[in-house]
Symmetry: C2
Subunit: 226 residues, 2 copies
């Protein structure tokens, strides 16, 4: 159609055995826009990998460029070192979760959390191309504070060499979410317990300038907009 | 000493190969009180396990009773089903992360996040004893909203049967945290970029009562106290 942006990416990710939950399948989604929206609202993920046969889960920052996620770290940190030395990449699971509200039902059983999460399964690969590495690092900074990458000193050669970046393609991925109120059993509605939803407060408090900040440095607009 | 509460638990967890980071070891801690404080301030963890040789990381609620963590879920959900059928339990890694502030340095390289995290390595076991199961479920509810367990209808026999609970001992565990401001290179201090810390806003918005709530049901004190 005229006016429709061209895209080669299908509107949904293809479900797989790993991304179809064994229960509450009605809470799962594969819509690309939904997945990207959940990923873009957060910047800390939990990255899982297998080390000596046992699972390891570490919190880390990530950035997104199209259908690629990037994670960075010291060249000495375990998952990055393991990816760098693995010939075929490192199998990982990258999970992002927003908690939106507490759901208090009259019964303990129906207590719940309103949340939105994305789970990405795949193989992480070491990024060695300097241009892709710079793109990824900018994406990482801008993912946390949009607009910040161009308002900071870019990494120099030494810093780039000390930083490892890994790439994970968005391919086998699903979103899962719960919204709405308490779903009590009809016979519990007469119970005296309070029921309802307690939304989490989101956002930021006022920025605190560095004590060594040059006098009269204004607060950037992208921070005021957070 | 007289007046000192008796305890058999040492004040720190013993570091192991898995809980000593390969870098930034100065950010790691093994103090039991610190670990418990970080665990008690959150209620959503990211639970990692290995399925068909690949890592899986899922967000889930947890509760703590002393040096034991409990995770619950439908008897049909994967990690719980896998734990229930594994003779020797399921190797897991349970990670909890608080993001406290964004740290904006003048250089892209020194951007960071102030955070507190706990990583627990261990083997999860199915809880089959009905008393321990009830204790765990109360702990799970009270972990999210302290005081709520006794102000809700406890699980009945059918609900208990539909709920699986797994236990993970706090034994191989570490905390990791970053605090403070931007750590720029001395030669970058003259750069014009704003630097400082942006604290995350924490807390809850006003509770929203269920539309079917019995008229004149007061808001419980434990919710007002959140």
């Amino acid at each position: 159609m005229q006016g429709t942006p061209k895209t080669t990416a299908p509107a949904t990710y293809t479900p797989t055995d790993r991304t179809v939950p064994t229960r509450a399948a009605d809470r799962a989604g594969y819509d690309r826009e939904l997945v990207h929206a959940i990923l873009d609202e957060a910047y800390v993920c939990h990255l899982g990998f297998v080390r000596d046969g046992a699972p390891v889960v570490l919190p880390t920052l990530y950035g997104r460029v199209g259908d690629r996620l990037y994670v960075h770290g010291s060249t000495g940190s375990r998952p990055l070192r393991m990816t760098g030395t693995a010939e075929d990449g490192l199998p990982v699971c990258l999970t992002v979760t927003h908690v939106d509200a507490l759901v208090l039902a009259r019964s303990a059983f129906h207590h719940s959390i309103n949340y939105r999460s994305v789970v990405v399964h795949g193989v992480a690969h070491d990024v060695t191309d300097p241009d892709e590495k710079r793109l990824a690092l900018d994406a990482l900074v801008d993912h946390v504070v949009p607009g910040r990458a161009e308002d900071s000193r870019p990494a120099n050669r030494k810093e780039l060499a000390a930083t490892a970046v890994i790439r994970l393609d968005l391919d086998e991925v699903s979103a899962k979410l719960r919204t709405g109120g308490a779903n009590d059993e009809p016979e519990d509605l007469a119970l005296p317990h309070w029921a309802g939803v307690v939304p989490l407060r989101k956002g930021y408090d006022d920025p605190v300038a560095d004590p060594l900040l040059r006098p009269a440095t204004p607060l950037p607009g992208y921070l005021a907009a957070l």
